[in-house]
Assembly symmetry: C2
Homo-oligomer: 401 residues x 2
């Protein structure tokens, strides 16, 4: 028998299957209502639109789809992404400032490799996107946590921490931020704070990595202008994805940055995926060209707003007062604070036993914090939302007695 | 103006755009015959088959394609891959021993992260696949070069090097190997050597990472049994891909390994791509189910054998005697040795000026070796093969005078 353990790298050892994998395996014969991942509302997926695109494809288009493409992406898709981003004030040369990625996760991984060295001071939200933390961790940075409140990242604390770093002879290299409907707490950063962050980046000379998967899913008015649409310095890298607005199965993300940065990331991508999927890149290009993307976003946003309302109403009527939350103005998630000392990791086991799953908040912090949980409302049906929230409410009332 | 340079990580700095990118940019108005990458013969791509698969897809299938899938892959595709590998004696449980990857490149990257630590002794062919070397380099291993001859990796030298390592208190952790029609020299490892490698792995206690993209493209008889089809110890990880046998644009690769190894790689994949493309996974499943994969392999193999013959004939009639090569018995590449002291990096510039590109051999060695070049015959037309080989022959005759 092979002694597996001794072959893993130090990093490899950290990839032991985690809490979500072990608890959430489907148990035969029982229904599990999942308020977990950020999956798409199935009936809203643009299935007819994509089907039609493939029906219409020419033989030359099929050949292009099935052959290798360039590492940076299909030129036609890069053009469409450039036009799309111009609509929210981001100017990106499709020939050298955009890379198509396997979801925005690959963009996060590329940034992690190309920019983060062991020990680098990386500024992150507390809380923030869990898979960004774990992708960054592969390079062993030091995380500097910046609190998030209902107006987004707290720029006053950010400045204090930057001052402290500087005073101790250290330097922050990069800030990772999700300004619009941030994961997990759906907070929306104010325009004032957006400008302050950019000023601080100039003053303290760090780069910004802006992650914007959720900004398009805005319940009140148009998407707020991303940092990359305000920045003039070239220090903001911006990633977004089809996963929340069009289709996660297509694995179409992208990153835009100054051409020197993208040049290095393209070389790195050669070692990871070589090029992106041709079928999805072609379908994505056509979805843009036909106006399907622009139609899909308000369509799915309406569905998510309704589901959010259903979830909020069920929580208001069935959850204990000690649980606190804010109404999301966009995005896919509801972030719940429980009294200090409460452990949502432990709650998850009991909750799954009652047929309901959520994501424990601890996964979203660089240092352990246990009294939060994240609920997703985009995937479950309205009926399941009510049933699941009531069941979880009963469990919480029992635990908080 | 942003001072870009100071933000790169040590690894990021190594990703400055390389020789192939800078030289091979298309120049307007000139034709470049490319004997470079391992692209597919365009007229042979299974365009009609894939088109039909999407025409036939049910609404439920479309919804599955466009939604997130599991990190390990679509269960139906994992089943087909398990059946397909059973045809060449590899037994892999589709539920826990296979991961679908973004081409086999992602598999190489996963292995690199999960198994290689800085300073680890990694055994590689000299020469070997360039993007494996660069993916491994991200973890800063020490490469131990093992020569390749016409019978594949030289197991006698391998054993000597293992003995030496042991004598100096070191240990080889992993061997990376392409036993069948290896990239770049298309050598085929004999069955005797295959067995020897497995014995050495047991004796010196290292793991084997077998890369088999080319074995299916066999010009004389069936594909030789992979190491993973002979091994009983669980120490062989095996990767293959659709890229050479069906379609590179689909980005369907896979890796099989013992379940503890795959469990760790699945967690790592969550940080890189989350899941694979749904459209391509569905199409790949159906291509297997309909027998299209089994039909496609002999079809494209016949085309490549013919192109190989055309290239060999053009070389025999127009190339100088000082250039040496062996007839490939499979795969996509012809590997040419030039006299010691000849520099094919320098030759490339002159060659591109004459309208012909190849890959300089130096890229395939962990330490610099400059008197080789690799030619690809799968992409160019037969006519272009003749024209390009003759032009390159004239240039070589001039340089070797």
């Amino acid at each position: 028998m092979l002694d597996d353990k001794k072959f893993y790298s130090k990093l490899g050892t950290t990839y032991a299957p985690g809490i979500m994998n072990s608890i959430l395996l489907p148990k035969p014969g029982t229904k599990l209502i999942r308020f977990t991942g950020g999956s798409y509302d199935v009936p809203s997926l643009p299935t007819a639109e994509v089907k039609r695109i493939f029906e219409d494809a020419s033989p030359a288009a099929w050949a292009e789809m099935l052959q290798y493409g360039g590492t940076a992406g299909m030129p036609s898709l890069l053009n469409e992404l450039s036009k799309f981003m111009a609509g929210h004030k981001i100017n990106a040369d499709p020939g050298k400032e955009i890379i198509v990625t396997t979801g925005s996760q690959e963009a996060i991984d590329l940034v992690s490799r190309v920019f983060i060295d062991k020990g680098d001071q990386i500024l992150v939200g507390a809380p923030t996107y869990l898979q960004a933390l774990s992708a960054f961790r592969a390079q062993y940075p030091k995380f500097v946590d910046i609190p998030i409140d209902s107006e987004g990242m707290d720029t006053q604390v950010l400045e204090e921490k930057l001052k402290k770093l500087k005073a101790s002879g250290k330097r922050a290299k990069m800030l990772y931020i999700i300004p619009s409907f941030q994961n997990p707490d759906s907070s929306l950063m104010t325009m004032e704070r957006r400008k302050q962050v950019l000023e601080l980046a100039e003053k303290y000379d760090f780069i910004i990595f802006e992650d914007n998967p959720y900004g398009y899913i805005s319940f009140e008015g148009p998407m707020p202008t991303p940092l990359a649409g305000i920045d003039k310095s070239g220090r903001v890298m911006y990633t977004s994805t089809f996963s929340k607005m069009v289709s996660p199965g297509m694995r179409i993300g992208w990153i835009t940055a100054n051409p020197d940065f993208t040049g290095h990331m393209i070389e790195a991508k050669n070692n990871i995926s070589i090029c992106n999927d041709g079928l999805s890149q072609y379908a994505a290009t056509e979805l843009f060209r036909r106006g399907d993307v622009e139609r899909q976003i308000p369509k799915v946003t309406k569905v998510y707003r309704k589901k959010r309302d259903v979830m909020l109403e069920a929580m208001e009527t069935s959850w204990p007062r000690k649980a606190k939350w804010e109404e999301p103005k966009g995005g896919l998630f509801l972030w719940v604070k429980l009294p200090r000392g409460f452990d949502t990791d432990a709650l998850l086991k009991d909750s799954v036993a009652k047929g309901v799953a959520f994501v424990p908040g601890s996964l979203f912090f660089s240092k352990p914090v246990h009294n939060y949980l994240r609920l997703n409302y985009s995937l479950p049906s309205e009926e399941d939302i009510v049933t699941g929230i009531q069941a979880l409410g009963r469990l919480l009332k029992e635990k908080l007695k």
